[in-house]
Every structure is written in structure tokens, then in C-alpha cells.
Amino acid sequence: MQLSPQMFEPLQHDGTAAEELGRPALGYWQDVWHRLKQNKLAMAGLITIFLLAVMATIGPYLSGYSYDAQDLTRVNQAPNAAHWFGTDSLGRDLFTRVWYGARISLGIGIMTSVICLVVGVIYGGISGYLGGRVDEVMMRIVEILYSIPFLLYVILLMVYMGPGLGSIFTALGLVYWLNLARIVRGQVLVLKEQEYVLAARLLGASTMRILLRHLIPNTMGPIIVTMTLLIPEAIFTEAFLSFLGLGVSAPAASWGVLASDGLQGLRSYPWQLLFPAVFISITMLAFNFVGDGLRDALDPRMRK
């Protein structure tokens, strides 16, 4: 058989087709989300947090009782058809109070986290970006504050400011921002040497713009992880403060207040402790799972 050039057909080399065979192009956050979805614990945590948030919103209205309505004819009742979680020593419906407490506890967690975000990002960002002497002084201050046992410091602040939501936000916010400031500073210190920052500066961008538009968004990963893990810690600390009698004031109640009230009647009415305890624990677990999952998902070394 004679071979002729007509018998051959050159294969068209198509660059775009080759590209398509690879995995679909994913943005950074899509990629993170993709990996987070594969983490069952983290997803369970996310769903739990969502459910808790929904219940915190509608829960207090479901039973028909108000969180501060006392009924002295029905004190310390065990869970029953009328009061699903029973009643406390003043005859208040525990179901309503648990979900009302969820609002306050979750609110404290989230607010603290946000306050720390703002303070920590500004402080750490400035320290890392300016560098040099300023950085030295700012970090030395953080180091000194770090060596103060923070729970004692929170207690002192609370004693000074008196119980209440505002004082809790302030005290927790004043204490927990340190970690975030350190993380942001570390990240900014690395990122500011990158070419795109130089390019931005060359184009005449101001320091503030470079920080807020270019550097901070790139440090979002570790910041989000720290914030997620800060929420359960703040709820924990608030519960501790409530135990010391430094929590939110009556008739308002966080989970911590409910639990430490429940502790009083533990011997005869254990459910008064059990219900808030269970929800605190579920919340801790959920946020910790999500935080750990996020950390794994954001770590580029895990990228397959």
C-alpha cells in the first residue's frame, strides 16, 4: 500500500480544549467552599449554627410565654406539655428563656468577634504596614498586654463597669483583640513586600487604600478562622462571668445566667441546668467544628 500525504490528517492542536480537560476554574473562595463542603463535621456545624440562629429568632415566640413573665403558682415544674423545658424558680417558662438566652449568648459571641476584628485589623494592619520603630513599639505593647492574665483583667473591668451587655462587649473586646492584631500584623508583614503592593503604590494609592483594599482582603483567611473560634470562646467567658454574677442583669438572661441559676436548684431540678448546658455545648461544638473545618479548607497546602 502506497502511503500518500492525503491519507494523513494533521491533528489540530487546540489549546483551549486542553484547558477544558482540567478542573473547572475556581475562584479562591469557591475553592474553599468546595473543600469545606467535603468536611462533614464542619457542614454539620454550619447547619447547627443556622438552626440555632433560626431558633434564637423565632424560639421565644413559639411557646406563648414571655421570657420575664413570672407565675408563682407554677415554679420549678418538670418539662411537660405546657412548659416544654419546665419552669424556673420564679415560674418562668424555660423554653422561652433558653431561646431568648440564645439571642444574648450568640449576640455576645458575634459582637465580641466583630469588635475584635475592627480593633485587631486596624492595630495589626498599621503595625505591620508601617514596620520599623512604630511596629516595634506597637508590638511591645501587645506583648505586655499579652502577659496579663486576661480573665482576671476581664473580671476587673466588669467589676468596674458593672454588669450589663455593654460592659461585656467592651470587656471582652478589649481583651480578645490581641490575637487578631498579631495575626494580621504577621500577614501584612509578608504581603507588603509583594509586587502588587509596589505597583499600587506606584499608581499613587494612599497607605489607607493599600491597607484596606489590597492587604486586608488577602489576610481574610486566617482572620475568619480566628473570628469563628473566638465566638465560642466569648460565649464561654460570658458564661463564666455570669457564674460570678457579672453577666447580663435580670430579667434578661444569657445561657450562662440560665446555667448558673440552674446550678442553685441542681439537686431537685436538674433540668434547669441541663437544658442551657446542652445548648451551650452544642454551640461550642458547632463553632469549633466550623472553625477547624475552615482552617483546613483555607490552608493552601491542602489544595489538591
Binding site: 511591645r140 506583648e143 505586655i144 498586654l145 502577659s147 496579663i148 492574665p149 480573665l151 482576671l152 483583667y153 473580671i155 476587673l156 473591668l157 467589676v159 468596674y160 504577621g186 508583614l189 509578608v190 465560642p232 464561654f236 458564661a239 463564666f240 457564674f243 460570678l244 454574677g245 457579672l246 450562662g256 446555667a259 448558673s260 440552674g262 446550678l263 441542681l266 439537686r267 436538674p270 441546668l273 448546658a277 451551650i280 455545648s281 452544642i282 461550642m284 461544638l285 469549633n288
Partner: protein, 310 residues
């Protein structure tokens, strides 16, 4: 090394001064002063009290006196209990706290490391899962709730252990358990991950290849290196146990300093709150300092230097 130590000492001194100043400032800006209460005191009594506690001196003099007294180790009187000073309170109550604290620290180190090593050696088997589920659970329960649950189950329902007070060894079990649950869980997780890392190192293969028994490899070579992260955790561990003791001592009626501190918070006994805060802060800083030194001594690869962390 010397430079590092000096710098640490300097930081500690500044921090301590800061704490003292903050506590002082807070004590003197609390509305109403220490003798404000529901019952109105007669003007003359109030004046006498203020005279006695030097509250009508100018502020700067009170401040320098306070500093001077602290330098001499005197934390001042209690405003609520006339015959007690902060020093005498610390002296009579701290030993109990120290005993309970040491018990908890030993317990959490021993049990935590044991659990960590076992779950690393039995990775992904039931021993591992059991240990890690337990650890995760104790992470998610605040200590006062755990104390309550322990008391309910073991003292009220089962009746095995006394629910409160201090003195016999039975009375020490529940508080120790409650206080060490969280650090034990933390140490177990720490030990497990560092053990897993060490187990993959080449020098362990060498040790096995030269014919050492499994037991010798793990005890002599693996654990010795895996233990290092746990040593760094000892500083925070002491802090956790210390603050945990506030809650646990109050619930189990252990007559320690933590319980006293909680009572002073609810009594608003300011000098005691401030004095104990200063005492605890100094104590914790000193402990952290010692742990740091111990760490560099245990692991000669660690050089304590001035290097800038990134």
C-alpha cells in the same frame, strides 16, 4: 540567652506595674468608694474609716504608698473583714488552692499524655475515637456546668463521693476531675498530633532497624521528642487551672483562694479583688517565665533569643 532573659524580666516588670496601676485606677474610680452600701453610714463613721484607710490623702500619695506597700509585699487590708488583710487571706487560702491545682495539673499531664500516646499508636481505631470524642466533649462544656453535672451524678444520684468540702481524699476527687477536664483534653489532642508527627520521622525507622523493641522505640525515642509541645503548654495550663479554680472551688465549697476571690467579687471587697489580682498576675508571670527557661533547658535546640517573630 542573657539578653532574652533581661528583656523578659523587663517586660514582666512593666506588665506588673501596668496591672498595679490599672487596678489602682479602677479601685479609685469606682463610683461611691469602698464604703458605699445600702445602709447609710453616719458621716463621722465614714470619716473615721477614710482616715484609717488613708482615703483622704491626695491621690498621688495614695498611689505611691500603694506601690511602696506592694514592693514590701503588703497588699493592704480587707475593707469587708476588719481583722483580715489581703496577705493573711492569701496565706491561709492559697495552700488549699495550690494543692488542688497541683493535683489537677498532675492528673491532666499524666492522663492527657497517656490518652494522647495511646490514640496516636492506635490511630483510627476505637481507642483513638473514644479518646478524641471524650476530649472534644470536655472542650465544649464550661467548667461550672461540668462541676454541676459531676456533682449531680456522683454525689447526688450514685452517692459515691461527697458533694462538697475539703479535707479527705474523697473530697478531692470531684474538684480535681472538674478542674482538669479541659486541660486534659487539650493535652491529649496536643500529644496525639505531635506523636503522630514524630512517629513518621526517619530516626524512628533507624531505631527499629537496629533492632530495638517497639516498647523501647516508643518510650525512649518517640515520646521524648513528642513531649515538647506539651511542655510549652504548661504555662497556659497553670493559668487555666488557676482561673478554673474560681468556679470549681466555689461549687464544691473548697476553702481556697479562688473561692475567696469569687466571694470578694460578689461582696465588692475591692482591696481583696485588687490584691488577689495582683498576686495572681505576678504568680502566673513568674510561672510562665520559669516554664520558658525550663523549655530551653529541656530542648537545647531552642535558643531563647531576641529574634523577631513574623
Amino acid at each position: 540567652m542573657i539578653r532574652y532573659l533581661l528583656r523578659r524580666l523587663f517586660t514582666m516588670t512593666v506588665a506588673l506595674w501596668l496591672i498595679i496601676t490599672i487596678t489602682f485606677a479602677i479601685a479609685h474610680s469606682i463610683p461611691g468608694g469602698p464604703f458605699a452600701s445600702e445602709k447609710k453610714l453616719p458621716e463621722a463613721v465614714k470619716k473615721n474609716l477614710e482616715e484609717r484607710y488613708h482615703l483622704n490623702d491626695p491621690l498621688w500619695k495614695q498611689y505611691t504608698d500603694y506601690l511602696k506597700n506592694i514592693l514590701h509585699g503588703d497588699l493592704g487590708p480587707s475593707f469587708k473583714y476588719e481583722h483580715q488583710t489581703v496577705n493573711s487571706i492569701i496565706k491561709s487560702n492559697f495552700p488549699v488552692s495550690a494543692t488542688l491545682g497541683s493535683l489537677s495539673i498532675c492528673f491532666s499531664l499524666v492522663v492527657g499524655m497517656l490518652a494522647g500516646v495511646i490514640s496516636a499508636l492506635r490511630q483510627n481505631r476505637w481507642q483513638d475515637y473514644l479518646a478524641m470524642v471524650l476530649a472534644t466533649l470536655s472542650f465544649s462544656v464550661p467548667s461550672f456546668i461540668l462541676s454541676g453535672l459531676l456533682m449531680y451524678v456522683f454525689a447526688y444520684q450514685l452517692g459515691w463521693l461527697p458533694p462538697a468540702m475539703w479535707g479527705t481524699w474523697q473530697q478531692a476527687i470531684l474538684p480535681t476531675l472538674a478542674l482538669s477536664a479541659l486541660p486534659t483534653a487539650f493535652i491529649a489532642r496536643l500529644m496525639r498530633s505531635s506523636m503522630l508527627e514524630v512517629l513518621q520521622q526517619d530516626y524512628l525507622k533507624t531505631a527499629k532497624a537496629k533492632g530495638l523493641s517497639e516498647y523501647a522505640v516508643i518510650i525512649r525515642h518517640a515520646i521524648r521528642n513528642a513531649i515538647l509541645p506539651v511542655v510549652t503548654y504548661i504555662g497556659p495550663l497553670i493559668a487555666t487551672v488557676l482561673t478554673g479554680s474560681f468556679v470549681v472551688e466555689s461549687i464544691f465549697a473548697v476553702p481556697g483562694l479562688g473561692r475567696w476571690f469569687v466571694q470578694s467579687v460578689s461582696n465588692r471587697d475591692y482591696t481583696v479583688i485588687l490584691g488577689v489580682t495582683v498576686f495572681y498576675s505576678a504568680f502566673l508571670m513568674l510561672m510562665n517565665f520559669l516554664v520558658d527557661i525550663a523549655y530551653s533547658w529541656i530542648d537545647p535546640r531552642i535558643k531563647l533569643t531576641d529574634s523577631k517573630e513574623v
